[in-house]
């Protein structure tokens, strides 16, 4: 069984909100209609977003780290938001595990949003139906789009490649490997929702360099020689013309 999901690398995310804007752009232009945007340039801007980037400060000054934290529907494997829906508008697709809302069935009772511990669902103030991330279901299967771009809009937009997309049930997929090898974790595991989306933790990157790695110990003449190409170089090299 397939379970599509995002894996978000908090070690790489720089909090640029490119995923937020590309998500809004793609999904406000889709067949399901616009995503509300009221007073976008006014004093109290508000609207519907599938994805938001939040910022947390960890530690105490001066020992702080800023963590940018993108948050969208996690497409839980045990989604508490689905069984509570009285109309069946909220459902989880068996074929790829995407949790979706059927906007034609939704009565806007908001009950599912109460039943999501992550605050991933937002009622659209104008269309009065519940909205949430669709993992760009109208894009990832679209054969008119080049194969490499058949990914959620946020994944394509991320300039640092902090967002990976794939099947977390396929143990050899890029996402599964990232979860396995880089300590991927789920949010609020205490509620048994089994989110499909995972996050990769902040990692401290340290390189230890010993002296003998800078100086060759097995150098009998104790002299570093230029081990360039033998013989005189006549033409210009790339190094000669590139100036940083």
């Amino acid at each position: 069984m397939t379970q599509l999901a995002l894996v978000i690398d908090l070690n790489v995310c720089v909090g640029c909100h490119a995923c937020v804007t590309s998500c809004k752009e793609w999904n406000t232009s889709g067949i399901a209609g616009y995503l509300s945007d009221d007073n976008p340039y006014g004093a109290e801007p508000t609207g519907t977003f599938f994805n938001r980037v939040q910022t947390f400060e960890v530690g105490q000054y001066p020992d702080t780290q800023t963590v940018h934290f993108p948050k969208s529907c996690l497409h839980c494997e045990e989604p508490p938001c689905v069984p509570v829906c009285p109309t069946g508008a909220s459902y989880k697709r068996p074929e790829d595990g995407i949790v979706l809302v059927d906007y034609d069935k939704c009565i806007g009772c908001k009950y599912c949003s109460w039943a999501c511990p992550y605050g991933a669902r937002e009622l659209d103030e104008h269309q009065k139906v519940m909205k949430k991330c669709t993992l760009c279901v109208d894009r990832i299967y679209d054969e008119s789009i080049p194969k490499t771009e058949r990914k959620p809009a946020c994944v394509n937009a991320c300039p640092t490649s902090a967002r990976l997309f794939g099947d977390v049930h396929d143990s050899e997929s890029e996402v599964s490997r990232a979860i396995r090898e880089q300590g991927g974790y789920a949010l609020m595991p205490e509620w048994g929702t089994k989110p499909a989306n995972h996050y990769l933790p902040r990692r401290r990157i340290e390189v230890t360099i010993h002296d003998d790695e800078l100086v060759r110990v097995d150098n009998p003449l104790k002299k570093e020689i230029d081990v360039g190409p033998s013989g005189p170089v006549r033409e210009q090299t790339l190094d000669d013309i590139t100036s940083w």
């Binding site: 508000t46 980037v53 910022t55 400060e57 508490p80 109309t87 509620w191």
Partner: protein
């Protein structure tokens, strides 16, 4: 959570309607076994109609809660998994049973109309009423389970929620029944007024116990979700700097009560006084003096108390999503 007045009116109005039906059926079954004198049919008809009106008003309030009320019929489809769907089915079902119950009383029918002579006058209404009572309890459970089944809203996720919805609704219904008896029954048999008054007081006291227990429980809850589990970083000092939105969002409007501190602080003593001791005093005074005015004031006071109680029920509940919405940058 944000207390929506549509839901506050829905739950309190149908609670009173359901309680009134329970009171009517109590009177009828007591009369059937001869504990109290039987009441005139007009009493059941009037009581049944008022109960029905309360249920309809509650249903009307619930429509105001929906974004698409014209699609409300769809919400009956997922009764296998959704308590909300179950409530949506049980409420009209109860209305139908209650309408039949009231109509049979009005027409004076008994099982004789289908050729069964049981020797009881009220056999048909007792049977229909029994089904209505079952539906009433099922509806209390469904309404309360809508809240109690959300395990991460820890204030709600308790059997006390179900007990309190049932007791609070029943209490207001019996209080109303006490007033109605004095008003409708021309020369009210003291027995019936006393019976209702007695149960109104007993249920109100039980409801007070239940509510105080839930307040006690909620005061001691330790939230299972923390900012650490919410973003998955195990560090003692984490604060939010931005929530990704500058002017508020659905998440800041729906999940916070957004009321001034003093309102939140005062509403609890207010509802505790209005719902419990004040009505009890008024009921006792009203029953001993036989005054309709005092008894109907008892009901109104208790109903206002229940509105405040329901407001607090929502406002006190802390949704774990709020962890993600602490600061607008």
């Amino acid at each position: 959570m944000h207390p929506a007045f549509s839901v506050i009116f829905l739950t309190t109005l149908i609670g009173a309607g359901q309680g009134l039906l329970l009171a009517l059926y109590t009177a009828e079954s007591y009369a059937a076994v001869g504990v109290v004198a039987s009441s005139p049919r007009s009493f059941y008809v009037a009581g049944g109609i008022i109960s029905l009106v309360l249920l309809i008003a509650g249903l009307g309030a619930s429509f105001l809660h929906l974004g698409h009320p014209e699609r409300a019929w769809r919400s009956a489809s997922m009764w296998r998994t959704s308590w909300l769907s179950r409530e949506v089915i049980l409420l009209p079902l109860l209305m139908v049973l209650l309408a039949l119950y009231t109509m049979f009383h009005y027409l004076g029918w008994d099982l004789g109309i289908i050729g069964i002579d049981s020797g009881f006058d009220s056999d048909l209404t007792l049977i229909v009423g029994a089904f209505a009572v079952l539906a009433t309890f099922a509806l209390f459970v469904s309404t309360a389970m809508i809240y109690a089944c959300i395990k991460f809203i820890q204030e709600w996720a308790s059997v006390l929620t179900v007990i309190n919805y049932t007791l609070l609704g029943s209490a207001s219904g019996f209080t109303l029944a006490t007033a109605l008896t004095v008003f409708i029954v021309p020369e009210p048999s003291q027995g019936l007024v006393k019976l209702f008054g007695f149960w109104a007081v007993v249920i109100t006291v039980a409801a007070l116990l239940g509510r105080v227990m839930s307040l006690y429980r909620n005061a001691r809850l330790k939230p299972r979700s923390t900012v650490q589990s919410a973003i998955g970083i195990r560090h003692g000092s984490i604060i939010q700097r931005a929530q990704g939105v500058m002017g508020g969002s659905f998440n800041t409007r729906e999940f916070f009560h957004n009321a001034p501190d003093w309102v939140f602080r005062w509403i609890r003593p207010l509802f505790l006084v209005l719902t419990f001791p004040l009505p009890i005093i008024l009921i006792i005074t009203g029953v001993t003096s036989g005054s309709f005015a005092v008894l109907i004031i008892a009901f109104v006071v208790q109903y206002l108390g229940l509105i405040a109680e329901r407001w607090y029920f929502f406002a006190q509940a802390k949704h774990p999503q709020n962890i993600y919405y602490q600061y607008i940058s």
